[in-house]
Each structure stands twice: as C-alpha cells, then as structure tokens.
C-alpha cells in the first residue's frame, strides 16, 4: 500500500471511528433529518411539487456536505498541527505531495460517506415522484467538484493560517458568501453584480443546474458550463492547497 493510500485510510478512519468525526456525521444527519421531516411533515411544504422538493434537498445536501468537507480539510492540516500529530507525519520518508494526496483522498472518502448517507434522505423526499434518480445523479456529478473545492479550500487554509479557529472562520465566511445567492432575493440576483457573482460562483452555478434539470426538465448534458466552472474552481483551490502544503513548516 502506498503512503498516500495509508494516509487516506487514516483520514477516513478519523472521520468514521473518532468521536469528533462521528459527531460531525451525526450533526449532518440531524440537519438532513430535520429538513426532511419539514418537507414531508409540514402540511404546507408537503404540497410542494416533487421536483421542487428534490431540487431543494439536493442543494441542501451540497451545502451541508461542502461545510463538512471544509471542516474535514481544516482538521486534516490545522487540526492535526494543533493536536501535535502533524509533525510525525511530515517526518516520514515520503514526499510532501504524497502526504497531501493522502489527505485529499481522505476528503474524497469523507464526501463518498456523506453522499451515501444523504441518499436515504433524497429517497425519503423524492421516492413518490420521477425525480429521485436525477437528483442523485446531479448531486454525484455536479455536487462532487463543489464539495471537494470546499474540502481542498479547508486544507489550503489549514496550511496557510496559524490556527484552526481562524481557518474555520475564514472558510465559513467563504461558504456563506458562496451560498448567499441562494438566500438573497431574486431581484438582487437579477442585478448586474448579482449576475456576475452567479456566473463565477461554483455553488450557485451548481444549484442553478439542479434547478434547470430537475424543475425545468433540461438535459444534464446541457449543464456543462456549471460543471466546467466548478472544475475550474476545484483546480484553482487544489493548486493553492498544494502550494500551501509545500510551504507548511511545522
């Protein structure tokens, strides 16, 4: 087994077997459970169109998974540094980039775990209609680069910044700014600034694509601009994480 694989397995173990990782997954499930309960239990919300419900749930899964990936990324660098377990890893006879690759692999495994956990929730809200398969496919195809972007952003911040708390604050602000088009009103989104922001924001691009496919019935293949945007951000953030991890001192 290569060092990168070993470290990826260790990172996955940190999420699945440590109290901290299990608490995060539990929090994710609690948030998804609450939202699902609202959608199927509330009299008014249960009248929503099935396509709308699946689209909302897919967006929520993407945002929550991005948040968790961000936390996992920060924990893999700044968190380990603060706990004193990073130095022994940096002193193994392996290139830094292999260590980084293992940690990036850990984020990918964390996303796969979160994706698998979210499928029952999508099923709970979408099984009565025709949109479940589309929802799952969209989260897998378009959600993956966005979630990984935030995970890698967490690693870049964790390598750059001195404390995990500062990283978390910065990352949360970045995520809140990215998610802001989803919460601000349509009139603001139609303004010139709103349109520019929408055009460069990977999260709103992905949610717009969910909307276009699930609600408007457009083909997934037509959403390639959103995927390209998300992949471009992923590449930028990955390059930043590589540069920051190379310069990581102790």
């Amino acid at each position: 087994m290569t060092p990168a694989t070993l470290i990826a397995r260790k990172e996955a173990g940190e999420l699945l077997f440590s109290l901290r990782g299990l608490a995060w997954l539990l929090a994710l499930c609690a948030a998804l459970s609450s939202f699902t309960l609202l959608l199927v239990g509330s009299t008014e919300l249960s009248l929503l169109d099935n396509a709308q419900v699946v689209c909302d749930m897919a967006g929520l899964i993407t945002v929550l998974a991005s948040l968790l990936a961000l936390i996992v990324g920060i924990d893999a660098t700044a968190g380990e540094r603060e706990r004193g377990s990073l130095v022994p890893l940096l002193l193994i006879p392996t290139p830094r980039r292999m260590i980084l690759l293992g940690k990036l692999g850990g984020i990918l495994i964390a996303w796969i775990a979160m994706f698998l956990l979210s499928i029952p929730y999508l099923w709970a809200v979408g099984s009565t209609g025709q949109n479940l398969a589309e929802g799952v496919a969209l989260v897998a195809i378009l959600g993956t680069p966005v979630v990984l972007t935030f995970g890698f952003l967490g690693m870049a911040l964790g390598s750059w910044m001195p404390s995990a708390r500062a990283c978390l604050m910065t990352g949360m602000i970045a995520l809140a700014v990215s998610a802001s088009p989803l919460v601000i009103g349509p009139s603001l989104r139609q303004s010139a600034i709103g349109r520019i922001f929408d055009a460069i924001n990977p999260l709103s691009g992905t949610v717009n694509a969910y909307d276009a496919v699930i609600i408007d019935g457009k083909p997934i293949i037509a959403q390639w601009p959103g995927l390209v945007l998300a992949l471009a951000w992923l590449a930028i953030v990955l390059a930043s994480a590589v540069a920051a991890f190379d310069r990581l001192s102790r």
Binding site: L6, I7, K10, L19, R83, G84, L91, R250
Partner: protein, 306 residues
Amino acid sequence: MDLLDVNNLAVRIADKPILTDVSLSVSAGEIVGLLGPNGAGKSTTIAAMLGLLPRQQGTVAVLGQDPARAPFTIYRNIGVLPEQNGLYDWMSGEDYLAFFAALHGLSPESAMIAARLGAVGLSPRRGQRIGTYSRGMRQRLGLARALIGAPRLLVLDEPTNGLDPRGRHEVHALLRDLAAQGTGILMCTHLLDDVERLCRRVVVIADGRTRAEGTIPDLVARSEGASRYRLRLAAPPPSLAAVRGVGRIRQEGETWMIELEPGAAAETVWPELFGRGWKIVEIRDEGRGLESFYLSLTGLPERKAA
C-alpha cells in the same frame, strides 16, 4: 563522523530572529542534553535541523546530509519525539505503530513492533484505544514510534515528560541501552536530573544562541555557581531567607535546597542555622551542580523564598 552537526544556525520566523547562532553536535553512542529556558529556541533548533523550518544561515548535517536537500534519507534513519506528541486516539497502540511502520515501508514484523511496545512497557495495553492511555503511556508510545526503523539518531523533546518515577527509570535504561548500541541521542529537557543521569555532554541555548557546550564535569568546574546543600527539617522553617549567608532557596517536597551567597562559608552559616532552634534532620552537601551552572548561565533572577 558526527551523526548530527549544526553550525552557526540562524532562523527567522515572521522576520523576527528566533535563533541567531546555534551550534551543536551529536556523535554515535552519545547522549547529548539540549538545555535552555522557555523560549530559548530549543524546539525551533530541532525543527530547523530536521528541515521543518527554513534557515537563514549556518549549516546542518544530519547523518552527513543536509535535511533541506535529502530529507527522506535522513527521515528513514532518525527517530523523533516532538515536544507536542499528538496521537490518533481512535487507533490502538499496536495499530498506531503499524501505521507508522507502513509509512516507513516496513511490515509490523520487520519493524519489530511487539519488541518496541515491550521496550516502552506498553505490551499489556497494545490492543487498547490510545484515547484510554494516560499521559505517561502516550509519551511511551511516542517514544516507541520514534524507535521504528532502528534509527541511528534519536531527537527527543522532553522524553520523560509525564512519566512516573518507574517510567522515567525505564526510559533512562532504554536510552542508555540504545546509546550503548551506537545510537546518538539529542535530548531536549528541562529536567536537569535526567541530564545528569544520562548525558555525557550538554549544550545550553539561551536567547537564540549556544551559550555553553561541554561535558557536565567541565561545565560545572567552569561555573561560578554557589555551594548547594539539601536540608531536611522536622517542620517547615519560618524563614530560611533570614539566615545570613543563605542565597537562593527552593522547596522540594519536604526538603529545602539552599545555595550559599557568593563568599559565604558554610562554617559561618551553620552555627546561625542551628542557633534558630529548628529541628534539622539532615544536611546533605550537593556541591556545585549542573543546576547552579545552568542558573548562573541563563541569568535567572535570584529569588528568595520560605
């Protein structure tokens, strides 16, 4: 050839000079103590000589190689116990060592994990989660990790931190054995007792530079430290500081370590001490030890107590 050779090392962090001129060396089979007050730059020295911090000046040769140019050759042949010894609480001790052995390209058998756990006294708890370990056990596991790959050089930052007296004794015996087998050991610690028991040579760092280096007898002979005595009294004395000729005082459990003021003779101090009517159980001459030398060198302020 020295296993570790550091010359005129200078390190700046965020444009602030942390180390200005540090030199030290460790030969095969030698245990060298690295001493210095808090903030002197000991941990920075270790980080810089391992290539974890860039240096602005000086040369570092670990096993004859520069860590900035050939880190993997070095990392394969050294063991490090950092100051902050973080572990993975969800793993068992055995799995933890197997994980690091695998990262070194070794199987658990070839890394002799069972033997390493036995050497640090963790065999009975090897299958338990690290989260259940005491502080001393965590320190022992960190030491066992440092021994993976049979390193030729060990760099240990506070190796006996958190260990009980028996644990300290066992770790001392282990380090002596390793040194006898030819392993060079650089031991950074605040426990002068550990240094006096284990180390042949000592390097003292203060204010980012090497202030003294030599064998313990040489350093103590060079020192202008005061004579030290250990007193055991039946009851705490009201004020030892009031006794003429008594300088620094430190209480250690039920005993008091006193240093005579420069120029004060024991013959003049004892009559006054006995004249106070305190019930003195024992007086032991501790001589001019490493502690006196260290305190005089690092310029700690004279403090009166008791």
